[in-house]
């Protein structure tokens, strides 16, 4: 998958959820990825450069990583 595009998508989700407050937004972003992203998309974002992610998206991806352990 095009990782740059996935990073853009994750950041866009995070920016739109950010107004709900950091903690809620992180959980909501992680849940959004769980609910709507195909496994290869999730796998690719887990491998991506976390530095390129919005702080909320970064924490969400970290949460997502714990799912798959």
């Amino acid at each position: 998958m095009d990782t740059a595009r996935l990073i853009y998508m994750a950041n866009q989700i995070a920016r739109n959820l950010a107004a709900q407050g950091e903690e809620v937004a992180i959980a909501a972003t992680a849940q959004h990825l769980r609910d709507f992203w195909d496994p290869r998309m999730k796998a690719a974002i887990l491998m991506a450069d976390l530095g390129a992610l919005h702080p909320i998206a970064r924490s969400a991806v970290v949460q997502l990583a714990t799912d798959t352990g």
Binding site: M1, Q12, N16, D35, F36, D38
Partner: protein
Amino acid sequence: MGYERPADFGTPAVQSDQSVTLTIDGRTVTVPTGTSVMRAAAECGGSIPSLCATDSVKAFGSCRMCLVEIDGRRGTPASCTTPVEPGMAVHTQTPLLQKLRKGLMELYISDHPLDCLTCSANNDCELQDTAAEVGLRDVRYGYTGANHLGLTTDSSNPYFDFDPSKCIACSRCVRACDEVQGTLALTISGRGFESKVSAGQSDDDFLSSECVSCGACVQACPTATLQEKEVKEIGKPERAVVTTCAYCGVGCTFRAELRGEQLVRMVPWKDGKANRGHSCVKGRFAWGYANHQDRILEPMIRDSIEQPWRIVSWDEALAYTAGKLKAIKAEHGPRALGGITSSRCTNEETFLVQKLVRSGFGSNNVDTCARVCHSPTGYGLKTTFGTSAGTQDFDSVMDADVIVVIGANPTDAHPVFASRMKRRLRQGAKLIVIDPRRIDLVRSPHIKAAHHLPLQPGTNVAVLTALAHVIVTEGLADEAFIRERCDWDEYQDWARFVSDERHSPEVLAAVTRVPAAELRAAARLYATGGNGAIYYGLGVTEHSQGSSTVMAIANLAMVTGNIGRRGVGVNPLRGQNNVQGACDMGSFPHELPGYRHISDTATRSLFEQDWGVPLDPEPGLRIPNMLDAALDGSFRAIYIQGEDILQSDPNTHHVAAGLKAMELVIVHDLFLNETASYAHVFLPGSTFLEKDGTFTNAERRIQLVRKVMEPANGKADWEITQELARAMGLAWAYTHPSEIMDEIARLTPSFAGVTFDKLDHEGSLQWPVNAAHPDGSPIMHVDGFARGPDGKGRGKFVVTDYIPTDERTGPRFPLLLTTGRILSQYNVGAQTRRTGNTVWHDEDLLEIHPTDAENRGIKSGDWVRLASRTGETTLRADVTDRVAPGVVYTTFHHPATQANVVTTEFSDWATNCPEYKVTAVQVAPSNGPTEWQESYASWSEKSRRITTSAAE
């Protein structure tokens, strides 16, 4: 059924709690108070002769043919304009009445051609019938006096003729245009003997006039004056079948009238609850594509897209396709396969395609065109209200006091519903339009929007938040409703957010360009003007904040208490005939039918047990993700039913690259569409006239589609999908679509009570149809929001922050392009381009404001180059102030233009619905087609070659 003229009660039905009992020719009849004597007579089986009365328009009382005698009353009143009274004794057939009627008829016939035997309305003419009823035997006046015979027929409209020499000046056509359609194009010009029907100014014919060719006048005409050309050519129909239109999401029902297998005309069905006897130019007239010469009737295959197509048998096509699918699955795994269901096909066909993908391909890579239109509606309304659908039926608009239209152009895209809305507006409801363009509704005959907020494209969330700001800070919120029906804590969080000064209309005007005073006035009107109903379209959803906008709309409805009763609500105007149904049927990669997430074990196991296969618990790829995955080699085969993603989806170059990267592209369609240029298998589809099934319209109304004729390609689409499934080894054995609906009902709680028999009996049903709502649900969220385990939860306020799109104008691309559709063409135009509708729109035009045009030296009709960061195309300019300075607009109906070469891949944050409505562009004068357009034209021609020789 055989052919008989639909019953006509003469005057419209009246709604009343009280009733009146009277006698008519000795028969006792009870009718609602306010009913006309004419209608009462028709309801008890009587027939009063009439010419100017028909039940689609108000009584007019001009022909004097319907005179009656009433005991205790002097004279002979017209029954159409006389309301019933208790105890009235009416006589409809007396010697006096017979004499009067015969005398009137003589006058009519003295100025009417006596060519009944060769007339196209022979035996289907109300004038002829009335002459028979009154016993006309001779005409004492003779035929030599001044008359209107021999006038020239106006044949300018592609579908109907106007022959003024047969006109009896009953004005039914004029009133139908006024009352039913609401265009007010027709008029009676002149007075007395000079009275004649005119389509506008004296030099206008029907084509050049304001006429929108809805055909209401043709339907209302009692003679052959306004009649379909097809009737003239073919003759009177001999049988009729009631079915559902396959164009837009209004879902009009029609009586298809035929001779044998030949369709003669489509007549809107008066009992249709979506259209109430009305139609538009597409549904009534634009069905010629069904038997167009371009239609492909045999399966075709090819190993590579460079080769010409090879016609093969169904067996060979299905074996080839199944073999390839199985091989790809074996080598690359099930997640390398996917499909796209069609929002034009039936619920049953859509259900089968997603079932094939999930249970046969073994992946959840299934998506549908709602991805590019209303997927944000699904997400937004599910989050806030608990269901992914509109809250009202169409009838509800007649109880609305304030109508808000956001990012929708109903008179072009949902014309039949627009006529209902306009009727309500003429009755006095107030209108607020939020749209960058001055759409027709803003100002049209007898209609003027109270407020038009011409916002900058891409600022919907800012405008809606500013509206909420005014409502909350000015104390207009309906706190009683919110406390009772919504989560109070969530409301308070939201109210705090919107009340912030940075969300005031004055501050946000800098980005929205909407004058703050106008916005405040609109907010006050919506909050305090009585029943407020919001109608919205793709101008809401097709943005990078589409889902946020839908939620912001839901917030507005909740904060003002405008939900859960007639006349209010949140109403997405869905695009395609069955896009609501396609979504209901589990066409999204994360959801099983009935909007239940694939990861929900209980739901998944229900389907696993029924289908006898394990299902993948992980969500699949959405259309844009499929194209991305194709480019990295992890997605390799796609089955596309009735969808032209190359033309309809954004960034054509990217779509083409994705399709080209796939090993197997299966296109199942009526025509070799643009996507088929990249396909390896073509399975010929059937039209809506050729199959049984159901469509679900924008008001959740499930309606039967009935087979009118045999499929020209030999098979209905559901049969083709079933045969492909069987070729892949699945043991499907449906013998009729009703069995597929039984399976849907068995597995989907909101459809639990739906069967074909019940639909046939009731005419239609609005889901949910279940134990709690056995007769369906015209209005939703009445006692509670459809959230939580009991479906009676609380509405959820969601904070929606305005985040500008990343698509920005700049020095190189200073204008904003927004796209849409027009009345006569439909979507990618595959159907309407193959009909007479091209007379109104044979190319896409670029609307540009006079200031922007002048700065660039562009005049109307000039070729211009339209370029974005993604691509460029050329088309001709239409200089108009309908668009604001800085904004340009075009349609996407024609492949020669390919507006989507220009659109970008920015998309809604929650659903990836493309941002069609905002693209930064530059416009410059041009000499003709771009290099890309020329190469595409030659590629498109080459890729459609069909070899006539036998297989090598």
